[in-house]
């Protein structure tokens, strides 16, 4: 295989990896705040695409505005979901909350099917159908949008996490909830914030991908599994690890197509998930054992 072909696969891996990274960040942020895996994370991805299509095709808004409406509406769904379903479980029992998110996932995809129909729907490419040549490999302009949106989101999240009082409070909450509470951090508010961020990141991923792959009410779970595998691969609870996990998973999938067969592409995430859980449950960047101070 030539370097051009390899580069072509690497670009595809980067594109998919960026999407997985955004979805994985959603998993990791909610996990850090609540200790719970949010199985509705894939639905935020679905809603980001579907609500943007709705705003563009059904409301007739221009594309940039439709995209904004789609992402903002998904963030709102994230808030409503947290306030009505998660917060109501006062004892924060993780198993109960996980089941609630599974139920939420089913509810959201059913609602999407009911409101927007069972068919696949699409958005136009953000800046036309052009391609760019990179050392002989073909790079779709939409891929630049996808990677760019991911890069800006990650940079924004990094700034929020490390340079703002809100981010510091979120990190404190992730380290130890009781400690966070006794210094005056409203941990319930941090949970709501984590759901808003998770919904926004998922929606951005769904929005950016829809012009290439189209979207439908049922795209959530499969992307959810990929994002979950990526978050586990990197190390759950650590945002940087989620990004690394997403990119590595995207590359592994691409390489599996290049060197094995595209038949197994979707199995790669599950193999990675199982492999990590058997060999290195704390993930690539995770720390082993319980943190204790």
């Amino acid at each position: 295989m030539g370097t051009t072909e390899l580069l072509q696969f690497a670009l595809a891996g980067l594109k998919n990896g960026s999407i997985y990274a955004l979805v994985a960040l959603g998993f990791t942020l909610v996990y850090a705040a609540t200790g719970v895996i949010n199985f509705a994370q894939g639905e935020f991805y679905m809603l980001g695409g579907m609500l943007s299509v709705w705003a563009y095709a059904d409301l007739g808004l221009p594309l940039p505005l439709a995209a904004l409406v789609g992402v903002a509406a998904t963030a709102l769904v994230g808030i409503v979901f947290e306030l009505t379903a998660i917060r109501q479980r006062k004892d924060g029992d993780p198993l109960a909350l996980i089941i609630i998110t599974v139920g939420g996932s089913m509810l959201l995809s059913s609602l999407a099917r009911h409101l927007f129909g069972p068919n696949e729907r699409a958005l136009p490419l953000f800046s036309g159908g052009g391609n760019v040549s990179v050392a002989g490999a073909v790079l779709e302009v939409q891929t630049i949008w996808i990677v760019g949106i991911t890069a800006v989101s990650v940079a924004g999240l990094w700034y929020l996490y490390n340079r703002t009082a809100l981010g510091r409070a979120m990190r404190a909450c992730a380290v130890n909830r009781d400690a966070a509470r006794i210094v005056g951090i409203d941990t319930r508010l941090m949970v709501t914030v984590s759901f808003v961020l998770a919904a926004t990141l998922g929606a951005l991923a769904g929005l950016a991908v829809t012009p290439l792959t189209q979207t439908a009410f049922d795209v959530g779970p499969s992307v959810g599994i990929k994002g979950f595998a990526a978050a586990i691969l990197g190390g759950l609870g650590n945002p940087i690890a989620a990004v690394v996990g997403g990119l590595v998973l995207g590359m592994l999938e691409s390489l599996s197509i290049a060197f094995i067969s595209s038949t197994y592409k979707d199995a790669i995430a599950l193999i990675v998930l199982l492999g990590v859980l058997f060999v290195r449950p704390q993930g690539l960047l995770g720390r082993s054992g319980r943190e204790k101070v």
Binding site: A169, V175, A179, I182, V183, G184, T187, K292
Partner: protein, 255 residues
């Protein structure tokens, strides 16, 4: 003497607990506690492990939900308050096990201690400097993550973080636990400095002799109730206390 000390500040006590019941699930740990801490007093709570000392501190700040009785802070009912509200009202807890933010730096831990106050950057820095004056070693460690500190330094950081809330009432849960005598002396000398500055302190300790030497008054807890109370001097001299708590706990192991 105890009534003297309590009566000296005959205004509303900083903390007044009446008939407090609390526990975990169906297990009742506190069975009707009455306790008063006057302004500027250092009051210590001693007793064997499992007597309910830590649970009482947790119940005051709302980490454990009281099932009966009242907790009043400067006359206001704060029973069943949420912990994040308790610190806003002026109750800061140095918790059992310290509960520091391990991966975060010493400075970040201190800044987080002032989370409940809206401070300007300068005011925040000034308060951090005051903690550094009390515990100079923390200033050398300012950029280190909390989990890399020694046990004594971590305890100092836990106290410093609580002080950053500018509390009206400081609750301390076993600050001497697991520390070397020299470090314990350092921490209690800092507590004496705070006491001299007029801070009101409720101190839970397993080392009864140590605690009584640094307190105005004491309460002895036994299986969820107050068995005995009095001035620190009286308790130190009390035969039963000497026999049961000072003898048995002398030298204070981990227990």
């Amino acid at each position: 003497m105890s009534s003297d000390l309590a009566g000296r500040h005959n205004a509303t006590p900083v903390l007044a607990i009446e008939g407090l019941h609390a526990g975990y699930g169906r297990v009742e740990v506190l069975r009707g506690i009455d306790l008063v801490v006057g302004a500027g007093e250092v009051v210590t709570l001693i007793g064997a492990n499992g007597a309910g000392k830590s649970t009482l501190l947790k119940a005051i700040v709302g980490l454990v939900h009281p099932s009966g009785g009242t907790v009043r802070l400067r006359g206001e009912d704060i029973t069943r308050i949420r912990p994040e509200q308790a610190v806003r009202r002026g109750v800061a807890l140095v918790p059992e096990g310290r509960l520091l933010f391990g991966p975060m730096t010493v400075r970040e831990n201190l800044d987080l201690g002032a989370q409940s106050r809206r401070l300007s950057a300068e005011a925040l820095r000034a308060d951090v400097e005051r903690v550094f004056e009390l515990f100079p070693v923390l200033s050398e460690r300012a950029a280190q993550s909390a989990e890399t500190l020694s046990g004594g330094e971590q305890q100092m950081l836990a106290v410093g973080r609580a002080l950053m809330a500018d509390p009206a009432l400081l609750l301390l849960d076993e600050p001497s636990l697991g520390l070397a005598p020299k470090v314990i002396a350092e921490i209690f000398s800092a507590l004496d400095t705070l006491r001299a500055s007029g801070l009101t302190i409720l101190l839970v300790e397993q080392d009864a002799k140590l605690a009584l030497r640094h307190a105005d008054r004491g309460y002895v807890m036994r299986t969820g109730a107050v068995a005995l109370s009095g001035s620190a001097a009286d308790l130190l001299a009390d035969d039963d206390v000497r026999l049961i708590y000072l003898g048995a706990w002398h030298g204070g192991g981990e227990g």
